[in-house]
């Protein structure tokens, strides 16, 4: 593994130009002052209740996501390139979703193998032939981006189902402005606080046809969901009702919520409940989180679900390798953002290569998310590697492999002081009548030395992300 690109310092140890202002400011701060600020941040996050629940721990255990006070800074020019690439990619992904649930041109053209789509558990035959408002499926997309080697950006993963984390982007900024107001006077940092407004506007723009003043609600699995804080936060910031499945019912193919003054019609549901749990009449019959009859109202075009049902087929790890081709196919453009080179174990030679290089590769199970079901070769023990070797041989199509990227690092507070830690970036792309992106996104940081896993469920932290304005 080559040395990682550091966001702040050149290999010679000088601050990069976009970090110069920050570095000199940091040099002026006493360690005690910074340590006090960090303690203050912890205290405030706990009081505000910005916590997440960890599955597998005692019910109701709430944890803080560690917040690091050193920002990740992106210069204006770089952001512009990223933004164009994100728009292009999400446009193509939405076109792909429309296509696989309609004419399936991309399959007939041989760009994506039919079995990869139709035999994929993420493909929802129930969606075939349904016209969704504006042809948009992934209204909210979180695209995970990493920076490698010499500083080039790669898309690591598309999240098109119920991507989370945007509340941390907003709260991190609020926290930084509270802790270090002088920093924001000295640096022109693009604001992000308008995200909930943009989101609401976006959701209203995809209401069913003919609804003049659409009513939007946010559907949550409830307060024991790991992202409950975010659901409550976004509902409050948008000024919409935070509903659970039990609060909604379907009558005459229309969705209503139960209120203190009787039933009220609902037009757009920003749902943070997985497909499988949305409608017990169609998907999992044991689900108590959903609304019986929701799918039939949806099929009748009487309610919009954001994101649409069945978006998982476009962000599945088995489909990911084909995204650059999709972009060319649908848009006739060269992809502006590169994929990480990926070996598809379904192809015999690529599987052989993978098996021969397991200690160097990252292997991912195709339907898993959140850092679960993953092998990081360089960090794995012999036994762990053997387990994956067997798993891959048993079911090759279930795995992809990628070279271990030297993810870029950013200086981060750790026990012994400040040290470089690996980071990624998740910008949020909103698609409705138009595509909107709030500058930056959520930067996640792997706090353990050498670790490449940034997921909060695996001990990752977050940083404020600054896009500098020119």
């Amino acid at each position: 593994m080559t040395t990682a690109f550091d966001e702040m310092f050149t290999p010679a140890g000088a601050a990069r130009s976009h970090y110069r202002g920050y570095e000199s400011w940091l040099g002026d701060q006493s360690p005690e002052a910074m340590s006090n600020k960090r303690a203050e941040a912890d205290l405030v996050f706990r009081r505000v209740g910005i916590t997440f629940a960890v599955y597998g721990e005692a019910a109701g255990t709430e944890r803080l996501i560690p917040f690091d006070v050193i920002p990740r800074i992106i210069p204006a020019g770089e952001w512009q390139q990223l933004e164009s690439g994100l728009r292009q990619r999400v446009r193509a992904l939405n076109m792909f979703l429309h296509d696989v649930y309609h004419g399936q041109d991309v399959i007939r053209a041989g760009k994506v193998p039919a079995d990869q789509v139709f035999r994929n558990s993420q493909y929802r035959p129930e969606m075939h032939g349904i016209d969704v408002a504006g042809g948009i499926y992934a209204h909210i997309a979180g695209i995970d981006i990493v920076r490698a080697g010499q500083g080039e950006y790669y898309v690591l993963e598309d999240n098109l189902r119920v991507p989370s984390g945007v509340s941390y982007m907003l709260e991190n900024r609020k926290m930084m402005m509270r802790l270090f107001p002088d920093l924001f006077a000295r640096n022109k940092v693009a604001p992000v606080a308008h995200y909930p407004d943009v989101l609401l506007e976006n959701l209203r723009s995809v209401a069913p046809q003919g609804v003049a003043d659409p009513l939007v609600v946010l559907l949550t699995p409830g307060m024991y969901n790991s992202a409950y804080f975010e659901h409550a936060f976004l509902a409050q910031q948008m000024g919409v009702e935070l509903v659970e499945g039990q609060d909604l019912f379907v009558q005459d193919n229309a969705v209503f919520m139960r209120t203190t003054r009787g039933p009220q019609r609902v037009d757009v549901i920003y749902r943070r409940v997985d497909d499988d749990f949305l409608d017990p009449l169609v998907f999992r019959p044991d689900s108590t989180l959903g609304v019986p009859g929701l799918l039939s109202a949806y099929r009748a075009g009487r309610v919009t679900l954001a994101n649409a049902i069945g978006t998982g087929i476009a962000d599945d790890k088995s489909i990911y390798p084909y995204v650059p081709e999709m972009i060319e196919f649908y848009l006739g453009e060269k992809p502006l953002l590169a994929n990480v080179p990926t070996y598809k174990c379904r192809n015999r030679d690529e599987m052989e290569h993978t098996l021969a290089h397991l200690p160097e590769l990252v292997v991912k199970e195709v339907h898993n998310a959140g850092g679960y079901g993953m092998l990081v070769g360089p960090a794995a023990t012999k036994a762990e590697i053997d387990v994956f070797d067997a798993k891959i041989r048993r079911d090759p199509a279930n795995f992809i492999a990628q070279p271990t990227l030297a993810l870029s690092t950013c200086p981060t507070y750790v026990e012994s002081g400040i040290a470089p830690r690996h980071i990624d970036l998740r910008p949020y792309v909103l698609s409705g009548k138009q595509i909107s992106i709030v500058p930056g996104g959520l930067t996640r940081v792997a706090l353990r030395e050498g670790s490449l896993v940034v997921n909060s469920s695996q001990g990752g932290g977050t940083k404020d992300t600054w896009v500098l304005e020119r």
Partner: protein
């Protein structure tokens, strides 16, 4: 607003109010238990605390003997007792957390902070060290949550359901506190006209009624309103009928009516009518008639009617409406 949201808001307010009133009661009993009294009297005082909250059976199932320390422990910090201050504050916070989007940031943070600090106070052993300081703190946190609600929330349905919860609970708790003597002695309060009591009994009565007044922050108010010695009739009048006394039954029921009116819907006519009747009786009632009837009997009837109102409010607003 969502029925479920209204339900959480209503119960959030009820639980924090219940925690406060429990703290008030225990605080006053702590003070009176410091007066010279027999062991039996002291035990009766603590037993009354359990009786007021209908916790006698649950307590006896857990402890073979009654000691002040165990009663305090059971009513303050026992998580297995759903009425303990600890459980109430936890329930208030859980209800707030379920609808934090309908609260202002300040209201949510107040409940969350209260809960976090309570856990710290409990593990620091404040109850053992200085229970009265803990009671002060509980009262103060409840004041804070009400103040922050009034000071920051839009006066819309969410606010009205919170207030409805506060005053319905306070009406219930206040009636129980006034009835404490019945729970302590198991017999009807002897409400003798002023000056007719014998010496020792009279003095004991003074401390007893003064304690009741203090438990609802009414001792100074009593002096201000009546400018006279403390007599049971006047205490009853002040705590039951005076609409300007913030923790009186009349004041609570006035607020229940006003907030019920503010959220009324097509089903709530009967609940409003019953609340209005109760308000009228308190407004035009006379303390002599209440005492004639017997204080304990009167208060028991009042509690039943408050309970009935609570059920109707759940039925009309909070329990999800039928789909048709």
């Amino acid at each position: 607003m969502l029925s479920r949201t209204a339900d959480h808001l209503f119960w959030m307010a009820r639980y924090i109010e219940r925690a406060e009133n429990t703290a008030r009661m225990l605080d006053v009993n702590m003070s009176t238990s410091l007066l010279p009294q027999s062991a039996e009297e002291a035990e009766r005082g603590w037993r009354a605390m359990l009786g007021i909250s209908e916790l006698q059976a649950a307590f006896d199932a857990k402890y073979p003997l009654l000691t002040a320390r165990d009663v305090l422990d059971f009513m303050v910090r026992d998580p297995t007792n759903p009425s303990s201050i600890y459980s109430c504050m936890q329930a208030a916070r859980e209800n707030a957390r379920a609808v934090r989007g309908s609260l202002t940031t300040e209201v949510w943070e107040t409940h969350n902070d209260t809960w976090l600090k309570l856990q710290r106070e409990m593990s620091d052993g404040l109850l053992g060290r200085d229970p009265q300081q803990l009671f002060e703190w509980v009262k103060y946190r409840s004041h804070l949550s009400r103040g922050v609600t009034i000071g920051t929330m839009l006066k819309d349905e969410a606010f009205f359901f919170i207030r409805l919860g506060t005053f319905l609970e306070r009406a219930d708790n206040a009636a129980r506190i006034i009835d404490v003597k019945f729970h302590g002695s198991g017999e009807e309060s002897e409400l003798l006209p002023a000056g007719r009591g014998n010496g020792a009994g009279h003095q004991r009565d003074f401390y007893y009624w003064a304690a009741v007044l203090r438990s609802v922050s009414a001792f100074e108010i009593y002096r201000k309103v009546y400018r006279d010695v403390i007599t049971p009739e006047r205490v009853a009048e002040l705590l039951i009928l005076r609409g300007d006394m913030p923790r009186s039954l009349a004041a609570c029921v006035n607020e229940v009516c006003a907030n019920l009116e503010a959220v009324r819907n097509s089903r709530s006519g009967e609940a409003q009518r019953r609340a209005g009747m109760l308000r009228a009786e308190l407004r035009y009632g006379r303390v002599e008639d209440i005492l004639q009837q017997g204080l304990h009997g009167y208060l028991s009837g009042f509690l039943e009617r408050i309970n009935d109102l609570g059920g109707r409010i759940s039925q009309d607003f909070l329990v999800p409406l039928a789909a048709s």
